[in-house]
């Protein structure tokens, strides 16, 4: 997924297909509206958000203790616990476990962490077949694309796109793109995979320190069916997935699905506290840069994220540029603040892929200050010298002018006198990006300051 192209270029490409962009925007806006309906149906909504914020804040302040408590309780339940500093170690742990059981095929449910670690290509390289079982994930896997959304992985695709993909890989009828038909075809296809898998992998929505168990939420039942057939279940979690108490789940479960898809709860909320009969359950706790984020006062709150995707759905930029324009595993506002923690240079355009409208901060169920983080990230980009030199020069010059009001007034006066005399071809030349598709305002004869002076003088 590495690329050197910035967000704006990829966004422009996406936006050039106006019909498709508008369709994408509407599809996600619809999800946002469903979320609003749920939020507005609960008088206690804002209190749930602030309580979730408080629980997460407290947990991050005591994270090491809660991780140790979780580990102790999980071990006492017969769950094997592993720790991985980074993606490489995570992938190696997974491979070693799978090899120790001679696993040839693993069914995997949605896990942004394994996407982050690029686990699939790694396992495939080592001869293990990985089948993503979430329908949207399976669709993008067959198409060899990354997911474009953290909850709705195939939201960028039309049903006809899915139809062609299934025609090729699942032998569905040519030209049949009926969603029910395609879903049934995937059900049959994946049932075989579920029954044939030697192991399962899942992500983790919440890990409960108090009980040593984990919770996974799905609508399709894929994580659930996948993990209950084979004897081996590996669950991967970032260190930030911990919550202290079982009853804290009442807050997060009430918020998660309502924020994500506008449902009151997901179809399945499975609480795993041990393996299946004669089976093994492994939990891999992964850092991969998270403790670094914890060390930054400005950005540590991003670790509160519960991956509901609400900030993507509400983001006017995401809705019109698509998930792939971000070039990072997690797109949208939350991805734009997480990615620069990983590689500021590579992802230097993401904090600017934002009009600072602040809608993301308002929908976030755990009150992450998303737009404020993106605002501050921009300072990091400039301080590291990654802002384009041309842009920086302009702003530096403007600042100098703005520190010299008399010269600025004179420059303004000149502009107001000269610009109206220039031919359109010069005013609207290539360097005038504003004027590419927008008219400039008509330059007035006098500035406000001149009018004000005249008014005061005449008194």
């Amino acid at each position: 997924m590495s690329h050197s192209t910035g967000h704006s270029e990829l966004a422009e490409k996406f936006a050039n297909n106006v019909e498709r962009m508008n369709w994408h925007d509407k599809a996600l806006w619809f999800v946002r509206l469903k979320r609003d309906n749920q939020a507005k149906s609960l008088d206690e909504w804002e209190e749930l958000r602030s309580t979730a914020d408080k629980i997460k804040k407290h947990t991050l302040e005591n994270l090491a203790n809660y991780l140790e408590e979780f580990e102790k309780n999980a071990l006492s339940r017969g769950i094997k616990v592993h720790w991985a500093k980074d993606a490489k170690e995570h992938n190696k742990i997974v491979l070693d476990i799978l090899n120790s059981k001679n696993v040839k095929m693993v069914v995997k449910s949605k896990s942004m962490l394994t996407e982050e670690c690029h686990l699939n290509p790694f396992l495939e390289k080592h001869g293990i077949e990985v089948v993503d079982t979430d329908l949207g994930e399976r669709i993008v896997q067959l198409r060899n694309e990354p997911p474009s959304h953290i909850v709705l992985p195939a939201i960028h695709l039309k049903k006809e796109d899915v139809g062609t993909t299934f025609e090729k890989f699942l032998n569905t009828q040519k030209g049949n793109s009926d969603p029910t038909y395609l879903t049934r075809a995937a059900r049959a296809h994946l049932r075989k995979k579920f029954l044939g898998a030697d192991a399962s992998m899942t992500g983790v929505n919440f890990a409960i320190a108090e009980t040593g168990g984990i919770v996974v939420c799905t609508n399709e039942g894929n994580a659930d069916l996948g993990s209950s057939l084979p004897k081996l279940h590996i669950a991967c979690m970032g260190v930030e997935k911990i919550i202290p108490r079982l009853k804290d789940l009442s807050i997060f479960i009430r918020l998660l699905a309502r924020s994500a898809t506008g449902q009151p709860v997901t179809s399945y909320t499975s609480h795993y506290h041990g393996p299946v009969e004669d089976g093994e359950m492994h939990i891999i706790i992964v850092d991969n840069g998270r403790s670094n984020i914890l060390s930054t006062d400005k950005y540590k709150k991003s670790l509160q994220c519960i991956r509901c995707g609400a900030c993507l759905n509400t983001c006017p930029v995401y809705r019109r540029s698509g998930g792939h324009s971000y070039g990072y595993t997690i797109p949208g506002p939350i991805g734009s603040t997480l990615a620069p923690s990983r590689d500021l240079k590579k992802y230097s355009t993401l904090p600017f892929a934002c009009s600072l409208c602040a809608s993301c901060s308002n929908v976030c169920p755990v009150q992450v200050d998303l737009h404020q983080q993106l605002y501050l990230r921009r300072q990091d980009v400039v301080d590291a010298g990654y802002l384009s030199p041309a842009k920086y020069r302009v702003l530096k010059m403007a600042t100098w002018l703005m520190s010299h009001p008399r010269i600025m007034d004179f420059a303004g006066l000149l502009a107001r006198k000269i610009v109206p005399l220039l031919p359109r071809s010069i005013i609207y030349s290539k360097i005038n990006i504003w004027g590419k598709s927008r008219e400039l305002p008509k330059f007035p004869k006098n500035s406000f300051k001149e009018l004000y002076k005249a008014k005061k003088g005449s008194k």
């Binding site: 909504w45 308002n362 400039v382 305002p441 406000f448 300051k449």
Partner: protein, 247 residues
């Protein structure tokens, strides 16, 4: 009560009428307003591009010029939000800063919260679409936000209600960003345009004759698209309605 008037840099140069209307609205209400001559810019463009050194220079100028006023009023939600929310990084603890931070108001917000006028002595017999500009809306909290479960209110509407003859259009997305976003309008030009067009289409469908709002910058962006695409729509800065200026 001495009021310092801050006029955003681009409004000073490009929108003298809207700026004069701001002054007129305040003076009509008998408020003692002064415009400090050496003011320039609040530094928002620099700040939103991440240029903190440059922002600091301008924040310090702003403090020096405005700290001794009882209130500072600006015809711009985003400039006020800059002072209220983003200056602390540069000016925290400085003499007069906390007073200035908490006493800088957007024009309509100032009327609504501090002056509380009974009437505006203005008529505007048109169907108006209110543009809830993001910083005024979500950072200053000038109206209930569609994302939140809170009772509905709008300071903008409360003040516009005092204008005779005015009526409103009902938008399907009442507080979506227009895509101006400061330097965003240039950096992400394609999306800025797409967002602007979507807002304008919403207003066209809702039958707005005029789009008004508390941020001239958003209106400038939308008017730029209106003019280029020759849409049957107009923008008008809110102070011009409140001052009774006929368009």
């Amino acid at each position: 009560m001495k009021i310092g008037l801050f006029i955003p840099c681009f409004m000073n140069e490009l929108y003298p009428k809207a700026s004069m209307a701001t002054l007129k609205v305040l003076e009509n209400l008998g408020i003692d307003v002064e415009y400090p001559m050496y003011q320039t810019c609040c530094g928002q463009a620099q700040a939103n591009t991440g240029c903190s050194n440059e922002t600091k220079v301008l924040a310090e100028r702003f403090l020096k010029i405005f700290k001794n006023y009882d209130y500072i009023v600006a015809p711009s939600g985003s400039c006020v939000s800059m002072v209220r929310h983003n200056y602390a990084q540069f000016l925290q603890g400085r003499d007069g800063f906390e007073h200035m931070r908490t006493h800088t108001y957007e024009l309509v917000e100032f009327l609504h919260d501090i002056i509380k006028p009974k009437s505006m002595n203005a008529t505007f017999a048109h169907k108006v679409g209110i543009h809830n500009s993001c910083h005024a809306h979500r950072e200053l909290g000038m109206a209930s936000m569609s994302e939140k479960n809170v009772p509905e209110f709008s300071k903008i509407k409360n003040i516009l209600d005092k204008v005779d003859g005015i009526s409103y259009s009902e938008l399907t997305r009442k507080d979506e960003c227009c895509g101006f976003g400061g330097t965003f309008a240039i950096t992400e030009e394609a999306l800025s345009l797409a967002m602007g067009r979507a807002r304008l289409q919403d207003h066209l469908n809702a039958g707005s004759e005029y789009i008004t709002g508390v941020d001239m910058s958003c209106l400038m962006h939308m008017q730029g698209i209106i003019d280029r695409e020759k849409m049957p729509l107009k923008t008008i800065y809110i102070a011009q309605i409140l001052a009774g200026d006929t368009p």
